[in-house]
Amino acid sequence: MKILSNIMIFIYILLLIGCQQASDDIHKKEILKVGVSAEYPPFEFQQGGKTVGFDIDLIEAVASELGMKAEIQDMSFHSLISALQTNKIDVAISGMTITPERQKNVDFTDSYYQDTPTVVFIKEKANLTKDLTNKKLGVQLGSTPETWAKQQAKLYKGVEIISLDANPLLIEKLKLGQIDYVVIGKLQAIEFCKANPALSYVLVGQQSEGYGIALAKNSSLTEKVNQAILKFKKNGYLQQLETKWIGA
């Protein structure tokens, strides 16, 4: 017991020393701390232990435009806004839709990508009518498709909207028959249908609010990041990224 506790104390001390050095190194260079939630391919996901994707390429380009070096930190999607507010990160880029609710708490840049709401359904059960009366629609909380679904709920009677945190959960619910349709972004819809042959999708609605980079309220960086995005829009870099990660 005594030996064991001595070993534990030793490990403790080693770990504490480890922390100290790591945090010292960070402050030497000018670093753009980037928060992502690497659960949203092709925008950000883990591949071979590295975070990659459309957003990652974009933010690295933005950082070098600002003369900084991007440091990617992965966390859950919910934590991103709290992390911005408490300055744990400088920017959050994670396929985040610009919504008025979020704008109360954080600054957004102009959108760098527009997504189209898309309905995913089970092929066998497809009696796709435009009538959504008494249908259950699954959407991701705070996403563009959620806004679209809310508009539909005003048009048809008895539409029930189920908002969950993660798209994969919605797809599981759909497969179990607990909801009738899942409304998600076009890209995700295509990928989910590739992974699940029983599913199919149809595009609905117009392109609406897009994805923006979030920064802390009144951040000094917002204007600079915005200019970088504007530049990438003009010189076609955003278009290149779309071709690279999303295809035609």
Partner: protein
């Protein structure tokens, strides 16, 4: 449905090291702080403060405590707190509250006569606890401590919301990458079960040693 690839499964299993790291640090810290709190409370020193400490830490969700440690405290006190430090602090403090009560229950189970005998023999308080009281206490509360260790092992999954790549977070990441949610979660579940199974097995061994020792 497509099967998970071997490298995805290995990627999830690699999270075991991080899960175990948090579990053992929190358990060790929890036992140390918990024992001190229990001894203080048992001797009626600072009881109201300790009661409040235990009550608050047991009465609020660990998720809230973790979020406060990582997001709120650093911005209020203006000190940098890494994910690792936040996790260690939150898990240690939380488990210390539970362990304090477990140890206090163990202390209460010791016959009053033993304390009186120690006083009569002029055994210094430190040695009384170290050599006589606490060894008995730890034998009695071992099953309850193992219970706490198992609960703690699974609670460390909460660190995944801050992005630490433990078993749980890795399962989520694999799920997102492959558009397949259930299989990574089941893999994670198996990892946790194997870990708790090993803990239970070790606890049984220790209990058996203790039992033989008591008979001898």
């Amino acid at each position: 449905m497509m099967m998970l690839m071997t490298d995805s499964i290995i990627f999830i299993i690699q999270g075991t090291a991080i899960t175990l790291e948090y579990t053992f640090i929190a358990l060790f810290g929890g036992v140390v702080i918990g024992a001190m709190l229990a001894l203080l409370k048992f001797n009626q020193i600072g009881t109201p403060f300790i009661n409040a400490y235990i009550s608050v830490l047991r009465g609020t969700p660990l998720l809230v405590q973790l979020t406060i440690t990582y997001f709120v405290i650093p911005s209020v006190l203006n000190i940098p707190v890494s994910i690792f430090a936040a996790g260690c602090i939150a898990f240690t403090l939380n488990s210390s509250a539970y362990i304090a009560e477990i140890i206090r229950a163990g202390l209460n189970s010791i016959d009053k006569g033993q304390f009186e005998a120690c006083h009569a023999l002029h055994i210094p308080t430190f040695y009384m606890y170290k050599d006589i009281i606490l060894p008995q206490v730890f034998k009695t509360i071992l099953p309850a401590l193992i219970n706490e260790a198992i609960a703690l092992l699974k609670e460390t999954a909460l660190i995944s919301i801050l992005g630490e790549q433990d078993i749980m977070r890795r399962a989520q990441l694999v799920g997102a990458e492959h558009y397949n949610y259930i299989q990574p979660l089941i893999t994670a579940g198996i990892c946790y079960y194997v870990l708790t199974f090993i803990l239970e097995w070790a606890a049984k061994k220790v209990e058996k040693v203790k039992y033989d020792y008591q008979r001898a």
